[in-house]
């Protein structure tokens, strides 16, 4: 009986994976997961770290009664502990047509970055789900937990392909309904849909989901080597425009590109959305171990 074909796995260096095991995703909010985990949560429960006292109520487990307090005050108080819960991590991967530009370098980079972040989350017993999106949410990867699910994550990411236009609003809307408050949403995108990105981030924030934006750029897009009479075609919409590209036009393009990037970064900063700007020219290992760490995304 022939074995079913093995799905492709996103390649990551074993040495890189080993270094990832020492990292953890940074969450600025307390965890609110439904499963026990390794993160502090607001829920007082059966953890180890003492949290507070509260008056005893019938039905409380008498094992948590603080007898020392009772001897001093002759009142019954029960001790409450911080319960360690898991963290829900959502990886929103932009799979629009613009991510496939220049041989799909940005999409590949985003997939590897998502794999690294997801692996870190799995190592730390967080729940990881992947939500690719384009003009609408694409089929997602249901939450995974535990190191042994890393292969599933890598296979899912490897199968992602880019197509269509970008609309982060739709996917943010869907996620806001589904995600638990306090969860993390990593948005891996090239940021050309500026308005959608800002509105989507706002929607997530309103749903108490912490968005983290990882802007993936390409130097060939920032400073294209174009010249002459060109018919420019938008890779997502297919719209065409004829333009004679000269040095002067190129200079204006570079300035517009940088202005839009700065405007986007400023708007995200204003919303207190952690943002790290990455480039496909930067090696992935350096991006994760250095840039994301400096940006407070991982620790």
């Amino acid at each position: 009986m022939p074995s079913p074909p093995t799905a492709a796995v996103l390649p990551l260096e074993p040495s890189f994976l080993r270094r990832l095991e020492s990292l953890a995703l940074v969450s600025r909010k307390l965890a609110s997961g439904s499963e026990r985990g390794e993160r502090k949560s607001r829920r007082a429960g059966s953890g180890i770290a003492f949290a507070t006292h509260r008056a005893y109520a019938p039905g409380d487990d008498i094992r948590f009664v603080d007898w020392k307090v009772f001897t001093r005050s002759e009142r019954l108080y029960v001790k409450q502990f911080e319960e360690e819960r898991d963290l829900a991590v959502h990886l929103l991967v932009d799979c629009s047509g613009s991510m496939a530009h220049e041989d799909g370098a940005k999409l590949g980079y985003a997939k590897q970055l998502a794999a690294a972040l997801g692996y870190i989350a799995l190592i730390n017993l967080d729940r990881v789900s992947v939500q690719p999106f384009a003009s609408r949410p694409l089929p997602r990867l249901a939450p995974l937990r535990g190191r042994n699910r890393a292969l599933v994550l890598l296979r899912f990411l490897a199968a992602l392909e880019a197509e269509g236009t970008t609309d982060l609003r739709a996917v943010a809307e869907a996620l806001a309904v589904r995600a638990a408050p306090g969860s993390l949403a990593y948005v891996l995108t090239d940021g050309f849909d500026t308005a959608g990105l800002l509105e989507g981030a706002d929607r997530l924030r309103y749903a108490r989901v912490s968005p983290v934006v990882l802007l993936i750029g390409d130097r060939r897009e920032a400073a294209p080597a174009l010249h002459g009479e060109l018919s420019l075609v938008d890779c997502e919409s297919g719209e065409q425009r004829t333009l004679r590209v000269t040095e002067r036009v190129l200079a204006r393009y570079r300035a517009a590109y940088q202005a839009r990037r700065s405007e986007l970064l400023g708007a995200l900063a204003q919303r207190q959305v952690p943002t790290v700007e990455l480039s496909v020219e930067v090696p992935l290992e350096r991006a994760v171990l250095d840039l994301l760490r400096r940006g407070g995304i991982v620790s």
Partner: protein, 567 residues
């Protein structure tokens, strides 16, 4: 303006073709290149399309671009023509005098000196300006103009192609004189001598050039090495009394600047007859006489070989001489009985002698030579003849008799000592009893005569045939008893049959590979060349200007295109 590069027709065709191709390219409407961008919105915000030029402005921009490109192409094509500012009145007249002497066959330069000279001549022809005119003159033992004065380069080049080396030494005097005669009417004239320098010691050429100081003279020198030895003379002569052997004379000369050691060999066919080693100082010559070499009919060949190294001119290292078989001469001796004559005729075994009594003589037909001894024919013989006294009163004598009786006891007082018949012979004390008086005709030559100019030995021509006359009887003199008699007699017979009895000499061409004298020495001071491009001031050449113009236009086109001023 003159064009040193491509001619006007080629330039025009090139310019036309390049311009047409350029125009065709500009007329083509190339579709814009399709480029996929990640965010067209970014490009749209640049606002370039909103400032599209109007149609006429767009056409004007394209026209400017086309004109710039045409300007660049025109400048480059014109630069190929290498234009040069020149006044037509200042056109040059050039005589290219090419040395075709045997030394130009030397192969010390590849492929040979003559080919290198022709290559340089072709280059000079191609460098001629539009108004310049030239002659091609080949210089051998005579100077031969191969073209008339022409500016047609094809004609000049064809004439150069026809040139080849000759067997005879070149005469520079003739060549220079011809060139000066050709150039004399022109104000701007130049003589260019393409030679290996072997001609420069010509005093006649120096004198001729000194008389024409306004004509510029220049030498394009070919050849590098001066190592050359040559056989300059090869001669052979038979021994008069021993026809089985002969004597060979060879002269060798070293034309190089260094001492040479060489081996001289003489062959008959492929048989080595003699061999000798010779050491020759620089510019020295040596003559060797090789005695008692076996005589044969085979051609005589002399050959030189350097002990070390090679000779740059191998052509003069060998000489060939055809000696041929000794020819048999049929002699008719019309004599009564003359032992002296009979004995003398026995000396030469190439003579086939028939003897007739005077009364039996009718004609000399069938003989190469006839001897009348003491008799005269009734009419002049149709063959060369030797007349010996005494002479009877009747018969046809070659000379008219002088009035008066015979001369008694004449002496050989006047003898032409350098005459081939009597050279190195002693006749002064010959005793003669009587001699008949003859009157010489104007064409006759008295080889020996008395003090009163009475001829004793006479030679001349009658009806196209030579004769020699002795005005006395051999038996009435002691000449047959002298040592000089056999030599004189055999020389006389050989001369009558048209041979040189003394020697047969072949002189080879005198060759020289190189002279150390610079051409300027010919005139005492160098003269200025007028027709060579290398003498043209840089500023008179326009091709660098055209090239700079093309580059400037290219930069301008690049700038305007990148700034969007042109399309």
């Amino acid at each position: 303006m003159r064009w040193l590069g491509l001619d006007a027709t080629t330039l025009a065709l090139t310019l036309l073709g390049a311009g047409a191709a350029l125009l065709l390219l500009y007329l083509q409407k190339r579709p814009a290149r399709r480029v996929v961008v990640p965010a067209l919105a970014l490009w749209s915000t640049l606002g370039d399309e909103r400032r599209r030029p109007s149609a006429w402005l767009s056409r004007a921009r394209r026209l400017v671009s086309l004109l710039l490109a045409l300007g660049i192409v025109s400048a480059l094509v014109l630069a190929l023509g290498e234009p040069e500012r020149v006044d037509p009145a200042q056109a040059n007249n050039l005589v290219l005098l090419l040395d075709c002497s045997p030394s130009m066959a030397a192969r010390d330069v590849a492929p040979s000196r003559i080919e290198q000279a022709k290559t340089r001549a072709r280059r000079l022809v191609r460098q001629l300006g539009a108004h310049d005119q030239a002659w091609i003159v080949g210089l051998g033992d005579s100077a031969t103009p191969l073209t008339s004065r022409t500016r047609d380069k094809a004609t000049l080049l064809r004439a150069i192609d026809r040139l080849s080396t000759q067997e005879q030494p070149a005469d520079l005097t003739l060549g220079v004189q011809l060139a000066l005669d050709l150039l004399a009417p022109f104000a701007r004239a130049e003589l260019v001598l393409l030679s290996d320098g072997a001609l420069l010691d010509s005093a006649g050429a120096r004198t001729a050039l000194a008389r024409a100081p306004k004509i510029a003279v220049r030498q394009e020198r070919v050849g590098t090495s001066a190592r050359n030895v040559a056989i300059t003379q090869l001669a052979a002569r038979p021994y008069l009394l021993d026809h089985a052997h002969r004597e060979v004379l060879v002269t060798v000369q070293n034309f190089g600047p260094a001492n040479e050691s060489l081996r001289l060999q003489v062959f008959a066919a492929d048989v080595l007859l003699a061999q000798e080693h010779i050491a020759l100082a620089a510019a020295a010559s040596a003559t060797r006489v090789l005695a008692d070499l076996p005589a044969s009919d085979a051609p005589l060949r002399a050959r030189l070989e350097l002990d070390q190294g090679t000779d740059v001119l191998r052509g003069d290292d060998a000489a060939l001489m055809h000696v041929g078989r000794e020819r048999t001469t049929r002699v008719l001796a019309v004599s009564a009985d003359n032992r002296y004559l009979e004995a003398a005729l026995l000396l030469d075994d190439t003579l086939e002698v028939d003897q007739l009594a005077p009364a039996a003589y009718r004609s000399s037909a069938g003989y190469d030579l006839v001897i009348f001894d003491g008799t005269l024919p009734r009419e002049p013989p149709g063959t060369p003849a030797l007349y010996l006294g005494p002479f009877p009163g009747s018969g046809s004598a070659p000379l008219p008799r002088a009035p008066g009786a015979d001369l008694g006891r004449p002496f050989f007082d006047h003898v032409q000592r350098e005459h081939p018949l009597v050279r190195e012979l002693s006749l002064a004390d010959v005793n003669v009893g009587h001699a008949t008086r003859f009157v010489l005709l104007p064409s006759d030559n008295a080889i020996a005569a008395t003090a009163d100019r009475v001829p004793l030995i006479v030679e001349g021509m009658r009806e196209g045939k030579p004769f020699v006359l002795l005005s006395f009887d051999l038996r009435d003199s002691d000449l047959p008893l002298r040592a000089a008699f056999p030599l004189f007699f055999l020389r006389t017979l050989a001369r009558l049959r048209g041979e040189s009895a003394t020697e047969s000499r072949v002189q080879t061409a005198t060759l020289r590979a190189e002279s150390s004298a610079p051409v300027g020495d010919l005139l005492g001071a160098p003269r200025t060349a007028v027709a060579h491009r290398s003498h043209t001031p840089w500023l008179e050449q326009l091709w660098p200007v055209l090239l700079a113009l093309a580059l400037l236009l290219l930069v301008l086109e690049w700038f305007t295109f990148h700034r969007g001023y042109t399309e």
